[in-house]
């Protein structure tokens, strides 16, 4: 069981119809396997199909070709093993913080029991918002809202966490802070994570492996094994290999040399 890949996709291909009816290749020939409790970052230029990949794994889209499997079962519809954190927190303004964290339970089963409330409170403690349970959403900063969204994604205890550029809407300082927060949360509550980003330092700091993608049609350019020991911290940024790898990835992302 432990050697079984948690997520695997084979020869994945996605074609959309553009507004004028012409086919647009979003993804082409993507094959990859993600192991248990592995943290994989997907890095690529805008519009390279990163979000499409996430939605295919989540079962929100059907692939044109190829297939996605979770625990060796082909994904045909959304599955309980998955929690999603989006780019925007998209919380519900008519609920307080606790109401937002328990929302998946209310939405899926129609009621929220004492157990879930207790679990939601624990998750709020985990994301550092124990004292904010009854705050209104518009009283929270962008970073705090994204913490609520992470707690919401963890409520139903998914094995897999899919994160779609979760910190890209935050300012630079909150962004670094949230990266370390995510590392802490992931250490305390290990999950298999697929983390989509267009930030090279973020990908290097967080992940075990990085999928570097080509632009449209998106395909795998390179897989990078991130060598830094865990637990990682601020000092990870100053490892000699960090800049080397960052420069390497940058040269992979920009196919043409960039004028200075």
């Amino acid at each position: 069981m432990s050697n079984l890949p948690v997520i695997s996709f084979r020869a994945l291909e996605q074609v959309f119809a553009a507004a004028d009816g012409r086919p647009v290749h979003a993804l082409k020939g993507m094959s990859f396997e993600i192991g248990r409790h592995e943290f994989v970052a997907v890095l690529g230029p805008s519009g390279c199909g990163k979000s499409t990949l996430l939605r295919l794994i989540a079962g929100l889209l059907k692939p044109t070709q190829g297939q996605v499997a979770i625990y060796d079962r082909v994904v045909t519809e959304p599955r309980d093993e998955i929690g999603i954190v989006f780019q925007r927190p998209t919380l519900l303004p008519w609920f307080d913080v606790l109401g937002n964290v328990t929302f998946p339970m209310r939405h899926k089963y129609g009621h929220v029991g004492e157990n879930e409330l207790e679990r939601a409170r624990k998750l709020l403690t985990l994301v550092g918002l124990a004292d904010f349970q009854h705050k209104r959403i518009d009283e929270l900063s962008g970073g705090m809202q994204q913490r609520v969204a992470i707690a919401r994604a963890l409520l139903l205890d998914p094995d897999i966490l899919l994160m779609d550029e979760p910190f890209s809407a935050l300012d630079a300082l909150s962004r670094d802070e949230m990266s370390f927060e995510l590392l802490r949360i992931w250490t305390q509550s290990p999950k298999t994570v697929l983390f989509i980003t267009h930030s090279i330092p973020e990908a290097l700091l967080l992940s075990d492996r990085i999928i570097v993608m080509t632009s449209r049609p998106g395909s795998i350019r390179e897989i990078i094994d991130v060598p830094f020991a865990r637990p990682r911290s601020m000092s990870t940024f100053s490892e000699p290999q960090f800049h080397e790898l960052a420069n390497h990835i940058r040269s992979q992302l920009f196919s043409r040399p960039v004028a200075v």
């Binding site: 959304p78 999603i84 925007r88 519900l92 303004p93």
Partner: protein
């Protein structure tokens, strides 16, 4: 000796400071109330101007009666008569408004969730909306006969469209991510509408309801112009035909008051029950 002068000086300075502070306090107090009372003051000034102009230029009361003449005309009508007319109009307006809400919101849910319905029914709604209801009103009265029913239907026809359009807009303004969250939980279509789409439409629905309160009063009055023996619309038409213009104006003032009260009532319900849907500054 020396120390006594110093203490006297500092004492008087302290008194001066506290007096300045008190004066500033009164100033702020007056300004705050002036700011709050400004709309009221504007209305009073307008009325005084109106009264002055009517007297100064001796405007005949059948052209533009002075506020005092309107007040006198209003008092001349016995309260029982007033209440009869007010109740007749208010009842029709409220029933039409209620019917519009009861029909429009479920209809909007159907339109927003079915492409087929929105392609077929929506154009029909636009045709109904484009028809001048005032012109259709006599036909409706002939078809549906006397009584409240034709009036409620006319009110409904004038009122329902903004509610449908706003609700559809609101239902479709839900962030795509939340719909994906709902689908990833496999919560089902019904819960997606009840738990996510409808609450997201609440601010839009309330904007439309506020507009519709005024439309409901217009609808009721139009219906009474066509055929009625009671109600403020009938009262105004009847007074005008007898050249009792100040009395007609008194009826008009009461109609405005009804419109404003209904608007305030909807605002109150929104503040009280769905306060989150208001812009932040207004809570």
């Amino acid at each position: 000796m020396n120390s006594r002068t110093i203490s006297a000086a500092s004492c008087s300075r302290a008194r001066l400071r506290s007096e300045v502070k008190a004066a500033a306090g009164i100033g702020v107090f007056v300004l705050t109330w002036l700011d709050r009372g400004l709309p009221f003051i504007a209305i009073v000034v307008l009325l005084l101007f109106w009264e002055g102009a009517a007297r100064l230029f001796a405007i005949p009361s059948f052209l533009l009666p002075a506020p005092s003449a309107i007040l006198a005309a209003a008092i001349a009508v016995p309260p029982g008569i007033w209440f009869g007319h007010i109740w007749a109009t208010l009842r029709v307006a409220l029933m039409g408004f209620g019917l519009a809400m009861a029909v429009s919101i479920p209809l909007a849910v159907c339109l927003a969730s079915s492409k087929f319905l929105s392609r077929t029914v929506y154009p029909l709604l636009v045709v109904v909306q484009s028809t001048p209801i005032v012109a259709v009103a006599p036909i409706i009265v002939v078809t549906l006969g006397a009584g409240d029913l034709p009036r409620v239907v006319i009110t409904f026809l004038i009122t329902f469209f903004p509610i449908v359009v706003s609700t559809v807009t609101g239902l479709q303004s839900t962030p795509e991510e939340l719909i994906e969250l709902s689908r990833s939980l496999r919560a089902g279509r019904k819960r997606e509408i009840l738990h996510i789409r409808l609450p997201f439409a609440v601010p839009h629905i309330f904007s439309a309801l506020k507009i519709s309160t005024t439309l409901a009063v217009i609808g009721a009055v139009v219906a009474e112009f066509v055929a009625a023996e009671k109600g403020l619309g009938f009262f105004i038409a009847f007074s005008t035909s007898n050249f009792r213009i100040p009395t007609a104006f008194a009826g008009l003032v009461i109609l405005v008051a009804i419109s404003l009260s209904l608007f305030q009532a909807v605002s109150f319900v929104q503040r009280r029950f769905v306060g989150w849907s208001l812009p932040k500054a207004k809570q």
